[in-house]
């Protein structure tokens, strides 16, 4: 066997774990992909950990990044956790994307926080000292009515555009396009007038995952997977239509054929006029463009409401030892506190989940005033719907398979009807046949 012998009690403790005694020394490991990126990310989190240990001198936190070889450490989170679980030594607290919720809960066996510290304590944390979590955000880490993960960072897809290029192209920067048709028009104008590229929608490749694609499909009235998460539906009319629309933009030249990375870099460099992108990349764009970066809400399909979905990550507890579990909970509480969010938002640019913070002059109001770009994102929070994960152990294959198919339709010019074939093929990987 491969070292899978480490038996673990699968039943949750009936009673909540005890508080740490004063002076009880605990040391925990905190794994976050934020440590995988040099600069502001690592620095901010190191600072936060510093503050936490200052406040809890008896808890020692060892930060670590996910192991693995991908350029993007965020893609290694689950496999990292999995291999560490295989050794019997998982990190005590880990930051995992929403997309992994199902797997984290059902396979990786994240500890149910409601059982550990009691539902009240969890909810109390959501309510916060002063500013509660945004309503739509509270339940993102819940599974079957229990809270497993505390949503930590998150974002929605936003249309960023380059005002300088808009001006050059004779467009009005004050009136960003609001529908895809307008987007395409503006893009073609940009392209012909400035010689730059028009728009890039970073929702249509395998590497961009599916969260933003779900936004687009939902906005056209479709779903990629049925509401009960049992049937794939990304080859049905609404989503095929959406995909076809995107393909049309590529065919008309409004959207260049780019990888995710090329798209974001091109926009940051000023070579692309517009981009539909996660709000998390705002900092990067700001640094690259210096002037002219504007944001707008996600474009709509004419006559249909926009349904933004979210991306982001929650914090989970994987510790088995009660003391470590308690220490982990303390860390989570700290990292999702008003104080921490203030730091994170100012230093990194992530939107706080305690949205009211941006109205507090003592907290993030000055920052928010300086950053009008976050407005569309805040606006979208109200209408946001949770992004839906694919079911089963093979959810990654299903997701990647779907996105590959979308990518080849949009960028490689495959016929949109190929989605159907792909859907049938992937359905086999979904528990229950996916039909």
């Amino acid at each position: 066997g491969l070292g899978g012998e480490t038996a673990a009690p699968s039943s949750a403790p009936a009673t909540v774990i005890p508080e740490l005694a004063a002076g009880q020394q605990v040391s925990i490991v905190f794994e976050s992909y934020n440590f995988g990126q040099a600069g502001a990310w690592t620095d901010t989190f190191t600072e936060l950990i510093g503050k936490f240990t200052a406040a809890h001198p008896n808890i020692k936190v060892t930060p670590q990044k996910p192991q693995g070889n991908s350029a993007n450490p965020a893609t290694d989170t689950v496999s990292s956790l999995q291999s560490q679980l295989a050794t019997g030594n998982p990190p005590d607290v880990a930051q995992l994307g929403f997309s992994e919720l199902d797997f984290s809960v059902n396979q990786l066996k994240a500890a149910p926080l409601d059982d550990l510290v009691g539902r009240d304590a969890v909810q109390k944390n959501f309510d916060g000292a002063k500013y509660p979590y945004a309503k739509t955000a509270r339940a993102l880490g819940d599974w079957n009515g229990k809270t497993y993960g505390v949503p930590f960072v998150f974002s929605t897809p936003v249309l960023y555009y380059n005002a300088d290029l808009f001006t050059q192209a004779g467009l009005d920067p004050a009136k960003p396009p609001t529908t895809w048709a307008e987007v395409e028009q503006a893009a073609l104008a940009l392209k012909s007038k400035t010689g730059k590229e028009g728009v890039y929608v970073d929702c249509l490749t395998k590497s961009s995952k599916d969260w933003c694609f779900q936004s687009i499909v939902r906005s056209n009235g479709g779903r990629v997977v049925s509401e009960d998460r049992k049937t794939l539906s990304f080859a049905e009319a609404p989503s095929v239509e959406a995909v076809t629309a995107m393909q049309a933009m590529v065919k008309s030249g409004a959207m260049p054929n780019r990888t995710q990375q090329q798209g974001t870099e091109g926009f940051a460099r000023g070579d692309i006029g517009m981009i539909v992108e996660s709000s998390a990349l705002q900092g990067t764009f700001g640094k690259g463009l210096k002037t002219g970066l504007r944001s707008a809400v996600l474009p709509a399909f004419t006559g249909k409401p926009v349904v933004p979905t979210n991306s982001g990550a929650s914090l989970f507890v994987f510790a088995k030892d009660p003391a470590k579990q308690r220490a982990g909970w303390e860390l989570i509480k700290f990292l999702t506190s008003e104080e921490a969010y203030t730091t994170i938002s100012t230093k990194i640019g992530y939107l706080p989940l305690r949205t009211e913070l941006v109205n507090d002059p003592a907290a993030l109001k000055p920052w928010a005033d300086k950053n009008p770009l976050i407005k569309p994102n805040l606006e979208q929070l109200a209408k946001m719907e949770p992004w839906v994960s694919f079911p089963g152990d093979d959810y990654v294959q299903v997701r990647d398979g779907m996105m590959s198919a979308v990518e080849s339709v949009v960028f490689q010019g495959a016929d949109p009807s190929t989605l159907k074939g792909k859907q049938d093929e992937l359905a086999k990987l979904v528990p229950g046949g996916g039909r």
Binding site: G36, A38, P66, N69, N72, A86, N89, Q261, E265, L281
Partner: protein, 285 residues
């Protein structure tokens, strides 16, 4: 016995064969190819030396020169620490591999014994085992041995280098057998012969192979990425810090890449001939 330079195999001074046209054709093709090979490396350094705002510039000369990207790289990561770590890792790995390979190659070259062929095939066979097969089981074992997140954890599983064994075996096969016999007659045990005769004689080969192994270890990426998670990074992992969802931070990324390659290039420039000879004379054909 090993210092002979690589000689060109055809007498390049034969009458009528040193024609200008021929050698010019050769120069042209080789220059083109060399430029194609070196250009990306040049571009790496050129980019790393541009001012951060010029990083996207396409001018061939990085002007004005700026070390800001390097400063950035040093500021954002523990560059010095990583370089030290990597050096320690590469040197220890190379030395360990050299020792293990030397002993094994000596056994193969100096004795005839049962299962020799089988054991030899076992070494060759490691080339056929995909990394992904050993990755996880070894990771689990390392964790049992409590070697995760240590340099030892990076080094120990790689200590048996099949390439080292094969190259050294080739060299030792070419080692004059009479020299070993003479030392036996002169009263040495096999252990004594190894250290008083074989090693001193093979010193240039061992040095060259050691450098080759050190370079390989230096460039190793997958395994350290798996074992090291907390801080004490090696330099290849440092590179990854500048890549990510947000797009790559090209300036410092190129600076780090440049720094990563620099020691290797310097080593290679200084010892080029020896490294090439270690290959050429290995009978690796």
């Amino acid at each position: 016995m090993t210092a002979a330079a690589v000689v060109s195999p055809v007498d390049d001074e034969a009458v009528g064969e040193s024609g200008r046209a021929r050698s010019i054709a050769g120069h042209v093709v080789l220059t083109l190819l060399s430029v194609a090979c070196v250009f990306p490396i040049y571009w790496l350094y050129a980019t790393s030396l541009r001012a951060p705002e010029d990083v996207y510039s396409l001018s061939v000369l990085p002007w004005p020169l700026s070390l800001e990207n390097y400063a950035d790289a040093f500021a954002k990561t523990d560059m010095v620490g990583m370089l030290v770590n990597t050096t320690v890792m590469a040197v220890l790995t190379a030395l360990g591999q050299l020792l293990v390979a030397l002993l094994a190659a000596y056994a193969f070259a100096a004795w005839r014994f049962r299962f020799q062929k089988l054991l030899y095939l076992m070494f060759v066979g490691t080339w056929l085992v995909p990394f992904q097969v050993t990755m996880l089981p070894n990771y689990v074992l390392l964790s049992r041995l409590d070697l995760l997140d240590t340099l030892a954890g990076v080094i120990i599983p790689t200590l048996c280098s099949a390439m080292g064994v094969l190259l050294l075996r080739q060299h030792l096969m070419g080692f004059p057998k009479e020299l070993l016999d003479a030392a036996r007659m002169d009263g040495r045990s096999s252990w004594g012969i190894l250290w008083t005769v074989v090693v001193p004689t093979l010193r240039p080969v061992l040095a060259a192979l050691g450098i080759l192994l050190a370079i390989t270890a230096w460039n190793e990426y997958f395994w350290p990425a798996l074992v090291l998670r907390r801080g004490n990074d090696v330099v290849q992992l440092g590179l990854r810090s500048f890549m990510g969802t947000e797009g790559n931070d090209w300036g410092p990324l190129m600076a780090t890449a440049g720094l990563t390659c620099l020691p290797v290039f310097l080593l290679y420039l200084v010892l080029q001939r020896h490294i090439v000879n270690a290959f050429v004379r290995s009978g690796l054909k």
